[in-house]
């Protein structure tokens, strides 16, 4: 059974249709890149999969491990193993990063009927992951993302991804606002999470990110649907020729 099946998905925001019948299948062990110009619906797809309010699904379906994902609340999806790394991670003043991580991890475990982590186990795990991502301990004591640089915010997303061990990771414009060093650290973090039990969808505007996170499949989105799919070489082609050719095809 595929990990994620998006079938003929049609989505509206207010009175405007953003996705016009999008189809995508992701199996465990695969990394899919979704590329496309601004406004093609890439972020909408990620938001609808994560369950962000404000989107109206008017047709099609999204199955996660065969279950109807669209019928689940956002927290239910998270507990089942869906993780969205946000393009713009929010700042939450007054909520210490550690408190947030523990609350979230234990909420997911509780929802799955698993026991909560003990404090020493939790701390050991967080420290281990933080170290591998070059996240200093004092950052974990600060409010969630408060005063973090762009790179630190993205690393904090990957820290959560490593901690929650989701089976589907959606990375929304992970490269936006990152310099090359920050991008490399973030990409190394993502690559460390590649696994035969996990599927990933990497959404990006630029080919650059795919030099660091090498996808198995590349899909081009334009005007709310996938207009071309191929292997990793498709990304290079796009870099040469741009997205303009697909505007006509859409």
């Amino acid at each position: 059974m595929p990990l994620l099946e998006v079938k003929n998905l049609q989505v509206r925001v207010e009175d405007r249709e953003i996705l016009h019948g999008l189809t995508l299948t992701v199996n465990v062990g695969e990394i899919h890149a979704i590329m496309g110009p601004n406004g093609s619906g890439k972020s909408t797809l990620s938001h609808v999969i994560a369950g962000k309010p404000g989107y109206e699904v008017t047709g099609g379906e999204v199955l996660f491990k065969g279950e109807d994902l669209l019928a689940m609340a956002p927290d239910e999806r998270a507990a089942k193993g869906v993780f969205l790394a946000f393009q713009y991670p929010v700042e939450i003043p007054g909520v210490a990063t550690m408190t947030f991580l523990r609350t979230a991890l234990n909420a997911q475990r509780k929802a799955r009927g698993e026991s909560e982590y003990s404090t020493p186990d939790f701390l050991r795990k967080v420290r281990e992951v933080a170290k591998s991502l070059n996240i200093p301990q004092d950052m974990l004591k600060r409010g969630v993302n408060v005063g973090f640089s762009g790179g630190e915010k993205k690393r904090n997303e990957i820290l959560q991804m490593a901690l929650f061990e989701p089976s589907l990771c959606i990375l929304d414009e992970m490269d936006s606002g990152l310099d090359i060093d920050a991008l490399r650290i973030a990409a190394d973090g993502v690559n460390a999470l590649r696994s035969p039990d996990r599927g990933m969808v990497v959404i990006t505007h630029y080919q650059r990110l795919l030099n660091y996170i090498v996808p198995d499949f590349v899909h081009v989105m334009s005007r709310g649907r996938v207009v071309k799919s191929g292997g990793k070489d498709l990304a290079l082609e796009l870099e040469e020729s741009g997205y303009a050719q697909f505007d006509d095809a859409a």
Binding site: A50, G51, K52, P53, A73, P74, D75, R77, A78, A79, L84, F86, P89, V90, I92, P93, G94, V95, T99, F100, T103, A104, L105, A107, Q108, A111, G143, Q160, F164
Partner: protein
């Protein structure tokens, strides 16, 4: 010429209540004269209503409706119920001073446990002591407010605490008000003197014994903080959900001293905490903070008047309200900088979180600045929880209620974290948590 003063039914009843209570109130001679003058001053002002600017948002003529007779002296059954209620209010390690229905109860209090340098007497014993020439002063104050005048006229008891110069108290002093009688009122007035160089923590709690309903608690606390002294004053108001609580703190701070004031209101149908704080000595610091947690049709008003009478003082005010259902929260903060009070540094920030469409928050900052070399600022916001933050938390596995609770805790945290005493800070935090859990 006769001027007919039109009075509401409520006001007529108040005068009647005074006439009836008179014989039971302690103090004769000069004390009785001061009471008479106070009830006359009250009658001139009348029960505060919406056309009195200071009471604009808390119209007692509409909200209090009737004034209740003084509660009877608590009998053995009342004391037994008060004792039960105390178990959930008492702080381990604090010196309890318990007032039941407005009357000091030695057998429920820790009188023998006073630390060295602390003296505790009751308002009643001082007012009744004709040999004390200054006794009537306990009913006087600088503040001119109808409810403070009414309190002076009606005060039946209270505690008079003196912390000697240089005394550094290890344990908090805890004044506990317990209401037992229903449909009755209690008028209390306490005095707290913190000597020069002294340090103390004063907690004041309001709570109801199980079945107490529809009562009114009227309290005034007159505090004087000496020079180079430190006081932390934490107020925790958890009156019955249909009770009225009107409390005034009248505070004077000496030179190079610190006052850390915190007020938490979560009980009562109608409540007003008004603090009149005078910075009377140079180089002092005031931190005045508060939290209102209101739901149903509760109305909670926090009004602070900070009077910078001298130069080189600092004041900080952080106030937070969380409102559900049809609750109404009021925050009025006035900062006065007197002529010559140069180098005053005053800041005030008030924020309200509206959890429902029908809740209401009124924030009224007022700055009256008569000096030219000062830093004063204020800010006020009100709004709903941020949907973007809520979705982020939910996408990480928190349920809607868990996500809301975490954000509300964070919202309140900034005010609650100002409490210096660890135990009190944790207690205030747990009260907020329980309040949030009860919503779920």
């Amino acid at each position: 010429m006769n001027v007919a003063v039109v009075k509401t039914g409520t006001e007529r009843r108040l005068s009647d209540v005074f006439a009836l209570a008179r014989g039971r109130l302690p103090g004769d001679g000069r004390v009785a004269e001061v009471r008479q003058a106070a009830i006359e001053a009250y009658e001139r002002l009348g029960l505060p209503h919406r056309r009195i600017e200071e009471w604009k948002y808390t119209d007692l003529r509409a909200l209090m409706r009737e004034v209740l007779p003084l509660a009877p002296m608590p009998d053995a059954a009342a004391l037994a119920r008060a004792r039960e209620a105390l178990s959930s209010v008492a702080m381990a390690g604090a010196q309890k001073l318990v007032l039941v229905d407005g009357v000091f109860v030695p057998e429920l209090s820790d009188l023998g446990a006073s630390e060295q340098g602390v003296s505790v007497r009751t308002l009643r014993e001082i007012l009744d002591n004709a040999g004390n020439a200054a006794r009537a002063d306990l009913l006087l104050s600088e503040a001119s407010d109808a409810m403070i005048s009414l309190n002076a006229a009606m005060a039946a008891d209270g505690v008079v605490i003196s912390v000697a110069d240089g005394a550094e108290l290890k344990t908090p002093i805890h004044i506990v008000h317990v209401a037992v009688a229903s449909q009755a009122s209690a008028f209390t007035r306490s005095h707290v003197r913190i000597g020069n160089g002294a340090r103390a923590t004063l907690v004041e709690s309001f709570a109801a014994a199980g079945a107490a309903r529809g009562y009114q608690a009227h309290d005034a606390v007159v505090v004087s903080v000496g020079d180079q002294a430190e006081l932390e004053h934490v107020r925790l108001m958890a009156d019955a959900s249909d009770a009225v609580n009107i409390t005034s703190d009248i505070i004077t701070i000496g030179a190079r001293s610190k006052l850390n004031l915190f007020n938490m209101t979560r009980g009562g149908a109608v409540s007003r905490f008004q603090g009149f704080i005078k910075m009377a000595g140079e180089g002092s610091e005031l931190s005045a903070n508060g939290v209102n947690l209101l739901k149903g049709t509760q109305h909670g008003d926090t009004t602070l008047v900070v009077d910078h009478a001298v130069p080189h003082c600092t004041s900080r005010e952080i106030f937070r309200a969380v409102l559900d259902d049809r609750a109404h929260s009021v925050f009025q903060g006035r900062i006065i900088v007197r002529p010559g009070a140069q180098k005053t540094d005053g800041k005030m920030m008030t924020r309200a979180l509206l959890l429902s469409d029908e809740s209401e928050a009124d924030n009224k900052p007022e700055l009256e600045i008569f000096a030219d070399d000062v830093t004063c600022g204020h800010g006020a916001t009100s709004g709903a929880l941020d949907e973007t933050l809520l979705f982020y938390l939910r996408a990480r596995g928190l349920s809607e209620k868990e996500a809301q609770a975490l954000l509300i805790q964070a919202f309140l945290g900034e005010a609650i974290e100002q409490i210096g005493n660890d135990e009190l800070r944790e207690f205030a935090s747990s009260v907020a948590q329980h309040w949030l859990e009860a919503r779920a």
